[in-house]
Amino acid sequence: MPDEPLLRVEKLCKSFPKASGEVLVLDRIDLEVRAGEIVGLLGRSGSGKSTLLRSIAGLVQPSSGSVVFEGQPVRGPVQGVAMVFQGFALFPWLTVLENVTLGLRALGVDTETARRRALAAIDLIGLDGFESAYPRELSGGMQQRVGFARALVVEPKLLLMDEPFSALDVLTAETLRTDFLDLWTERRLDILAVVLVTHNIEEAVFLCDRVVVLAPNPGRIAAEITIELPHPRDRLSAAFRQAVEDVYALLTERAPAPARGVEAPIARHIRRVSVNLIAGLVETVAAPPYDGAADLPVVAHTLHLELDELLPVAEALHLLGLAEVAHGDVVLTDAGRAYAREDTQQRKRLFCEQALRVPLIAHIRDVLHARPNGRAPRLRFETELEDHLTEQYARETLDAAIEWGRYAELYEYDDVSRELLLEQPQTAAPASDADGPAVQATDR
C-alpha cells in the first residue's frame, strides 16, 4: 500500500441554512482512513456524526473542505463506497433478491450477472432461503442482513455503516456484530476499510481499531483512541473494560468551549430529559451501593441504558447543580443529596431553586415578569435561541426549559396560543377557556 490513505477528510465544515443565517454542524473535521481498519465515529446525537458519514458517502455536499477517496475528490455518491442504514432502508415492494440486485442493475450490470452476484452475497450473509421473501416478512435482524448484502454486493472498497445495529434488540445486534466481524477477520470480504457511526461505546470498543470521539455543537473531533486488543474481543476482560472506561472519561470530560463565536449563556443546547428520569438517576446514585458517587459505565450497565440515554440525564443533573459529572463519574452535590431525601413538595421547592440556575429558565422568568400581562409567545424565545442553535435544537432546548419550568411551577405554557405565562391561580385567561375542564379535573 502506498502511503496515500483510502479516504482523507480535510478541514470539512458543514453548515445548514435556517430561518436566519446558518448554523454550523461540523467544524473543521480532519480524518484519515487507511486500508485494513475499522474506524468508529462515536458521539451523541447532535455531534454531526451522521452528517459526517453522509459527506463521506457523497450524499451531503460539504460547505467547505474536501473529502478525497482514492485520490479523487468526492462530489456525489462514489463508486467503491456502499452504505448500511440504521432503519435498514429496504424497498418494501421488492423481494430480498430484488433488493440486493437493484444496486447492480442501477449500475447497468446485466440480469444474469446481477442475479449470480446477488445470490452469492445473500449466501455469504446467511440469508439463503429468504430470496423471495418481502422485507415485511422478516425480523429486524434479517432485514439488516439484507441491508448488508445489498451493500456488499457492489463490492465496495469502503463500507459506511450508520448505526447499523441500534434498531435491533440486544441479542440480535450482538449476533449480527459477531457475524460481520467473523467475515471481516477471516478476510472473506473484499472491503478495504469500514467507517462505523455509533453512540454505543461498547459497540465501538468491540468492533473498531480506532475510535474517533466527536463533541457536539458544532460537531468537531474531541479525541481519538486506538484500540489494540486482538479480535475476537472479550467484553468481560479487564483490558476491554478499561478501554470502555477510557472512552467514557473522554466523552464526559468538560468539552472546551468551541473556538469560534461567543456562545451566549442562555443559548446552550439542553436535551429534553423528563423530570422523572432526573429523579430516578438522583435516587439511584444516592442509594447504596453508590452512596452519592458512581461510575457512569457501571450505572449504565445496571440500568440497561445506553450512552445516548444516560449521558443526557447525567448532563441534566450537572446543569441543575444536582451533581458533578466528570471523567465518567457522577457525584451528587449537597442539593442532589437533599433532593434524594425529601418528599414531593420539598423536592419541587428545591427543584425550583436549582432550575433558576439554568440561565435560559431564569431568562424566561425575567422576561415574563417584565411584561405587564405576564405572557410571552413561545416564538420570541425560539427566535432568540435560533441565533445560536439549529431550529431543531432551539425547539428541543425550549421544550426542556418549558418542562422543567412547569415542574418547578415557575411558569406555565399554553400549547393552543403557544404562549408562556406566569402562573395565575384564580383568574383564568379567556383564551385558555377551552382547557378549563381538563385542568380543573386534574386539580381536584
Partner: protein, 579 residues
Amino acid sequence: MQRRYAFPIALRVGVNRWDLLAAALALGAVAFVVAAMQPMRAPLAALEAAPVSLDIANLPVYALRTTFRMFAALALSLVFALAVGTLAARNLRARAIVLPLLDVAQSVPVLGYLSFTVVVFLRLFPDSVLGAELAAIFAIFTSQVWNVTFSFYQSLRTVPGELHDAARSMHMSAWQRFWHLDVPFATPGLVWNLMVSMSGGWFFVVASEAISVGPWTIPLPGIGSYVALAIAERDLSAVGWALAAMLVVIALYDVFVFRPLVAWSDQFRLGAARTGEAPRSWVLSVWRRTQALRTLDARIRALLRHATLHRAPVAALARRARVRDLARRFSAPWVGALAWWTVLAALAAASIGYGWHFLSGIAAREWLQVFLLGCATLVRVIALTLLASLVWIPIGVAIGLRPRWTARVQPLVQFLAAVPANLFFPLAVFVIVRWQLNPDIWLSPLIVLGAQWYILFNAIAGASAIPQDLLEIARSLHVRRWLRWREVLLPGVAPYAVTGALTAWGGAWNATIVAEAVRWGDQRLLAHGLGAYITVQTEAGDYARIALGVATMAAFVVTFNRLLWRPLYDAMERRFRLG
C-alpha cells in the same frame, strides 16, 4: 436456453384453465378501446346525421363511449400529476408558483375550462368529432386532475429520507429513482385518488358531453348527452335508464379496474402493520394464476425494468456533473433567480394586461353585481356545508363506532358518491314548480347533494380511527351522552370532519354552476348566484362575462381556503391529533 421470441405464447407455455377467462378479459379490454376510439375520427357532420336519441338500445354504446372518455381523462390526469407533482416537489422555484396555480385551477368551475377550450379544440380539428371529443375529455380531466396531482406531490415530499439516501448511495440516477422509489411509494395514494376522481368526474360528464357554448351545441354520444336530452324532453323513465346504465358501468369498472388496482397497490404500502384484511380482487387473482399471462407479465416487467433502469453511462453522468459544477462556479445564484423572476413578472404583467383588456368592456356596476352574486352563492355554500355537517357527522360517527356497520356502509357510500347528483335535479324542479317555492332557497340543497358524501365518509373514517382505549376509559369513567360527544367523540373526529367539510365546500362551489340553473324540459329555474351567472353567460357565449364570473368564483374560493380553512385545519391537526 432462452428463446428470443415470445409469440405465440400459448404454443410454448401451454394453457391452463385460467387462460380462457383471462383471454376473454384481455380481448374485452382491447375491443373496448377500439370500439370507443373508432367513432372519434368521424367528421362533425356525422353527429348531425345520427343525433343522440333516447332509444334504450343506444345506451350500451353511449355508456361505452362515456367510460372511455373518463378513462382517457384519468390517464391524462395521471401523466399530468407525475410531471407537475415532480416539478413542484423537486424544484423550489417552480414550487413557489406551481402550488398556488394548482390551488386556483382547482377552484375554477368546469364550465370555466370548457367554454374556452372548446374553441381551441374545434379550431385544431375543424370538422372532426375529434375536436369535440378532446374538448369533452379535457373538461372531464379538469374535474379529476387536481387531487391526483396533490396526492403525488405529497407522496414525493414524504418519501423517507433513508430510502432516498439508500437509492442515491446505490448510484441510482434521478430517472431510476423516480420509477423505483418515488412512483412505487406514491402508488397507494395515487390509486385511491384516481378512484375518488373517477367518482367526482361523473358529475361533470353531463356538462362536458352536451357541449353548449355560445354558437356551438354539440351533443357527443354518451350517457351525459343522453341525460341532457332526457331532461330537455322531460322523459323521466329515460333518466331512470341512464341512472341504471351508470350504476352498471360503475359496478363493472369497480370490479375490473379499481379493485384489482387497489389489491395490487397494497404491496407498495410502507410499514409492516396492516390494519384489517388485505384488499382482494378475483380479477387480479386470475391475472396472476394464468400461465400465458404470467409469461407475458414477466416480459412486460422485464421491458419496463429495462426502460426504467436505463441510465446514461457513468462517464456521461460525471461529465454532466462537471458541467454543472462549472456553471455553478461561473454564475452567481442570483443570475438564475433574476432570469426566472423576470420571466414570471413579464408573464404576470402580460396576463393582467390582457385580462384587463378582455374585461374592460364590462361596467363597474356589473362587477359589483357579480361580486354580490358571489356573496349570495357564498352564503348558500356555507349554510349548506354546515347543515350537511350537522346531519352527517353524528350519523357518520354512529356508523364509524360500529365496525360491522362500517364494513357494510362504506362501499355503499362510495357507490352513492359516484352517482351524479344532477340526475335528481328534475325531481327538485318538479317539486319547486308544483308548490311555487322560492328557487333562491329551494335550489340550494342541490349544491351539496353530491358533496355531502365526503362529510359522511370522513366522519366514518374519523370515528373508526378513535383508539379503542379512549372509548373504553370513557365508558369506565361513566362519561355519557352529551359529555361523551363533547369531550371524546367530537374532538376525536375533528380533524377528519374538517377535511370532509373542506372537500365538500370545494365540491359545492363547483356544483353551483349546475345546481343554481336547473332545467326540466322548457322550464328553467334560476337562483340568484354566481353559478347561475356563469351558466347563463356560457350559454350566451359571452366570453368576457364568463371570465369575470369564473375569476370571481376562483377568488372567493381561494380567499376562503387561505383565510378560513387552512388555519382551521392546522389548528385541528395540532390540537386534536391522536398519537
